[in-house]
Amino acid sequence: MQEIAHTIKGKDRYRSGVMEYKKMGYWEPDYEPKDTDVIACFRITPQDGVDPIEAAAAVAGESSTATWTVVWTDRLTAAEKYRAKAYRVDEVPNAEGQYFAYIAYDLDLFEPGSIANLTASIIGNVFGFKPLKALRLEDMRLPTAYVKTFQGPATGIVVERERLDKFGRPLLGATVKPKLGLSGRNYGRVVYEALKGGLDFTKDDENINSQPFMDWRERFLYCMEAVNKAQAASGEIKGTYLNVTAATMEDMYERAEFAKQLGSTIVMIDLVIGWTAMQSMAKWARRNNMILHLHRAGHSTYTRQKSHGVSFRVIAKWARLAGVDHIHAGTVVGKLEGDPATTRGYYDVCRNEFTRQNLADGIFFDQPWASLNKLMPVASGGIHAGQMHQLLDLLGEDVVLQFGGGTIGHPMGIAAGATANRVALECMILARNEGRDIVREGPDILVEAAKHCTPLRQALDTWKDVTFNYASTDSPDYQTSVTAAA
């Protein structure tokens, strides 16, 4: 819906009192975003009777310079530059009362290299704004000039693979279960069995920090015994994500330093520590040659509902700028939320050198990554060896596949579960590279490989009918490629 500008100019613009946002310069339909502008696409759901253009202008205003009334102090500033400008409003296909509002922000509004500052503006005040029923940040275009102010992933996919000496296939991991209650000594047993059996990584769960049943130091010491023993048993590099999430930065640095001192290749943090803490840990990881795994604990509280919150594709973009090396990004076929096209969009954000606008996958903008390292997506939650062909087809090879239950729940034990996953993976890569159609022939390829691998046979028998078929709550609004703004 294209409408004319309503901006009032000159002296009348600054008459004391309340003025509609669209008259104050926050709706500029003729504005052409600059290459250096940050652009945000919001899904807005105005209250009944509220003009969508005014609602879009209000979002632009409240996420940049505006307050509820006219202030004369605007006139001491280059106010027109600092005003965010809503420049396009589209009706959302098949969703009455919802609109996509495109808003451009001048680069000078943001502190270089600070996700905290970027988010304080873009999602700071505006999500509680009364004239809106709901508001969702769908996507952002971050200009090259801004991208270049961030460190980006501390290690990146390529260097991670070089350090681990593992190429041409997804990495394999498992989260230690049960996630709560194991002593350090028992916990290390699970790590050893899984790594010796064939996994590359094991992982602490998001809520395993330092509890009465296991002090963090106990976990770290026993885990590193397990890692080194499995490394010697296999001749391969192994690792375990030691979760250093803690109450304060000082505690996190202490735990991370201990992990480094013990020779770990990787540490882990949870999204709930916040963006500033994530950026601090990313800088620590870069300085100390460590891989940094991010568990997206808590994200579904704001990413899952389509009408309100922040899309995960935006969280993935911020995480890549912030500088983590791994991020959980969905499995499509597992137990957690994930539409195939939307998930493909997240993976593209993590791994591309340049992400092209692709509305069918929920990507609203071209996004340059300006040689920032690539972020390794992690697929975790309710996946098993019998889905290997689908996982490889949907997610590609630069991904960590994490089979927690699908390793530890194996009828012949943890090491057997790990071996089943590794054989399933290697036989599928071999077949794919040979040019076989793995989507169609996948089940046969697995059965064939199981002839020389009893653990795989048992895994296929145990989980053959396990699927999680529920409708996604978050799927793209555009079914085919159509044109949106810049």
Binding site: V158, R161, E162, D165, K166, F167, G168, R169, G198, L221, M224, E225, N228, K229, Q231, A232, A233, S234, G235, E236, I237, Q261, L262, G263, E353, S371, K374, T419, R422, V423, E426, C427, I429, L430, N433, E434, G435, A449, H452, C453
Partner: protein, 140 residues
Amino acid sequence: MRVTQGTFSFLPDLTDEQITAQVQYCLDNGWAVNIEYTDDPHPRNTYWDMWGQPMFDIPDAAGIMMELAACRKAHGHLYIRLSAFDSSHGWESVKLSFLVNRPVEEPGFRLRRSEGEGRNIRYTTDPYSTDRPEGSRYQG
């Protein structure tokens, strides 16, 4: 034990026909294939000895298989791997790497533990094979 470095070590050793298919996959992607061998399988031993240069301009897997045969003739008692290099911007590293030859006997690794204060342990992994001097390992 069985050293499980490389992409396909959990499968039965690949036949020459299977290796040829993987090599062709690499060449079709525009990657250069390199042959390397070693008598030190330590997981951090990055620089295996190169069997000539990476083969940049060979379109057919047969050429690489001939080189592999020659390498096996000279070093058939050692570890040999094929690695494929992608020179594309943003990668510029290995894309696929897998073992194509291994010693008949793989003695494995000794894990040394040096006990420090606070229960800290410094771990070192030693291949048993490197107890003997370079050049005289895996001689049976």
